[in-house]
């Protein structure tokens, strides 16, 4: 079967405007049972900025990531990435938008067990149908994982899996990087290493990065720290 030639992702940093959430509400249920997961949230993250969001469990941190990444539609408000308002887009358009503009780093890496570290990144090329602007092996090198490129997740430590997860999230040259509790399963030393890598990649690739975490030890690596309580966002 003849394979269609992949196009190469461009890195149009000059057109990036980062992430802007304006008066975002996300509510579940009706009447007395109504719960506000996000309560009038305003957030602006510039390209190259790493913003940490801390807060207790159930405060709405993951909901914020879901709304910012186009996984969940807010009840009201605007979610704008690079000038495009995600509110009102169809599921298909949102998937297309995520492919091209949003990168996710999940808890424990959430890597595909069958794929080697290098193939985790190649999978993103297959999903987007485009070759990465920065070659996958180069990306692995940038997170210190080049020597483990051909190992599957089962043979990687928690910290190594997170590094691969970060590299994977950057394959499509996203404008926005959304990071969900990256140090949840790591010891103190590795937690620092991972967030350092995140900060480094954020600045290198001019990505607007939002990281939600419980871990206050790693906040020193972040450009800005916000706290979320009961769905409301405020400076720490």
């Amino acid at each position: 079967m003849k394979r269609e030639p992949m196009t190469t992702t461009t890195n149009p940093t000059q057109t990036r405007t980062g992430l802007n959430l304006t008066d975002v509400m996300l509510t579940y249920g009706d009447g007395d049972d109504q719960v506000s997961a996000l309560d009038h949230v305003d957030l602006a993250v510039a390209p190259g900025e790493l913003v940490a969001i801390v807060g207790p469990s159930g405060a709405g941190k993951s909901s914020l990531l879901a709304v910012a990444g186009g996984l969940t539609q807010p009840t009201s408000g605007a979610v704008v990435v690079d000038g495009t308002d995600l509110v009102g887009l169809s599921s298909r358009d949102l998937a297309t938008f995520r492919r091209e503009h949003v990168g996710f780093v999940f808890q424990s890496g959430n890597l595909v067990p069958a794929l080697t570290a290098l193939d985790q990144l190649r999978l993103v090329e297959k999903i987007t149908g485009r070759r990465a602007a920065t070659p996958p092996l180069e990306l692995l090198r940038s997170v210190g994982m080049e020597q483990h490129a051909h190992r599957r997740p089962g043979r990687l430590s928690g910290g190594e899996r997170q590094r691969v997860g970060i590299a994977r999230a950057l394959v499509a040259s996203p404008s926005v990087l959304l990071v969900d509790e990256p140090t949840a399963a790591l010891d103190r030393r590795r937690s620092h290493e991972i967030v350092e890598v995140l900060a480094d990649q954020t600045h290198t690739f001019s990505v607007a990065t939002v990281m939600v975490t419980h871990d206050h030890d790693v906040l020193e690596h972040c450009d800005r720290v916000l706290e979320m309580v009961d769905g409301q966002l405020r400076p720490l």
Binding site: L71, R98, A114, I127
Partner: protein
């Protein structure tokens, strides 16, 4: 394909077990096809391999076992012969008899009473054709019973003797019994119950079981017109197969078993891919969060099933053919035929893919938000 191949290699034990199940189902399919074809050959090869286009039974004969119930007359055969679109029409007698060979061994035979120089009688590949009353040309498969040219076969009860003068080139059986082609007059005497040395009623020479018909230029004649003229009930040769002993019931049983096999196959493959998809829910949610389209994931899932099915079916059919070739030529009615086996393999592939497709459709309902937080 990228993910499908790597997952097949990664989870090779799981896919290997599933492949083994599909392989065994394919082996069973080949064996059932062989048995089914073998039963057809054993049941009606004497008719299948004859140059007959249609068969006229006596009017009102029940379909089941009509060959042995029907009785037609020479006048009816003559009326059929006079039809414009009929090239040949001649009497054919059929009856199943018990007999003993020279050495006293028991034989079951179907006597086909044929006009010695007519169009129905097959050429003897070994020995000679029918020339005198009491001659018999037997199916080649009768050799397996120890029958040889020159043997004298004695029919039970009547004491009528038949001399084996030749064998056909291939198997000619009817109702799972070897056919002995005998002159029509000999069959008529047996049919009338004439014992050895007894003179039969002259009327016995006027009847046979059916009228065998051959159309002009290989075309099936107008059966309705012929029936109206001759007072018979004619069927095409293939439709007439149903009138041979036990044929419909046997085939129906085999078809039912095969239908269950196909249904089980689809369910097994569907169940496996359902479990596989459920196990992969987390990684599928991650890929959906990364923007993987439903089409991308579905295509990958169905391709994975297709690869597994094609490899397993190829192995299964090959193993089935090896087993089957060992069964051919034994006493078991078994015949390996390409058409039914390819059809069976195609059905297993199609139904397996359908089962896998139904299972993987649940990918579309996986919410990508479950990749985040503690919702997993």
């Amino acid at each position: 394909m990228f993910l499908a191949l790597r997952e097949l290699a990664f989870a090779r034990t799981r896919f290997g077990l599933m492949g083994a199940v599909i392989t065994l189902i394919a082996v069973l399919m080949v064996l059932l096809s062989g048995l089914s074809s073998g039963l057809v050959v054993d049941g009606v090869s004497g008719l299948m391999r004859s140059p007959v286009d249609a068969v006229a039974f006596s009017e009102g004969t029940k379909t089941d076992s009509a060959f042995t119930r029907s009785e037609v007359t020479a006048a009816q055969a003559q009326t059929w012969a006079e039809q414009d679109d009929v090239a040949d029409a001649e009497l054919l007698g059929t009856s199943i008899v018990n007999a003993k060979n020279d050495d006293g061994s028991a034989l079951d035979l179907t006597l086909f009473g044929v006009v010695p120089d007519g169009f129905v009688v097959p050429e003897a590949a070994d020995g000679r054709g029918l020339t005198t009353p009491g001659d018999a040309v037997l199916s080649s498969s009768a050799r397996d019973e120890g029958v040889e040219i020159g043997d004298v076969i004695t029919l039970d009860r009547l004491g009528t003797t038949l001399t084996v003068v030749g064998f056909t080139a291939d198997q000619r059986t009817f109702g799972h019994v070897d056919i002995a082609f005998v002159p029509l007059t000999t069959w008529q005497e047996v049919h009338a119950g004439t014992t050895a040395g007894e003179q039969p009623d002259p009327a016995a020479y006027d009847v046979a079981s059916v009228v065998a018909l051959r159309g002009v230029d290989g075309q099936t004649p107008d059966l309705a017109a012929g029936d109206a003229a001759a007072g018979t009930s004619a069927r095409t040769l293939e439709a007439a197969f149903d009138s041979s002993p036990g044929y419909s019931a046997e085939l129906m049983t085999m078809e039912l078993i095969k239908a269950f096999l196909y249904a089980i196959s689809a369910l097994v493959v569907g169940a496996f891919f359902t479990l596989w998809t459920v196990q992969r829910t987390r990684e599928l949610a991650v890929m959906r969060a990364m923007g993987a389209s439903t089409r991308f994931l579905l295509t990958d899932g169905v391709l994975q099933a297709a690869i597994l099915l094609v490899i397993s079916l190829t192995v299964g059919v090959s193993v089935g053919l090896i087993f089957g070739s060992l069964l051919e030529g034994t006493g078991m009615p078994f015949a390996l035929e390409t058409g039914p086996i390819l059809t069976g393999a195609g059905l297993l592939l199609g139904l397996g893919l359908a089962g896998a497709a139904v299972a993987t459709v649940r990918i579309a309902s996986i919410d990508p938000v479950t990749a985040l937080g503690e919702n997993r």
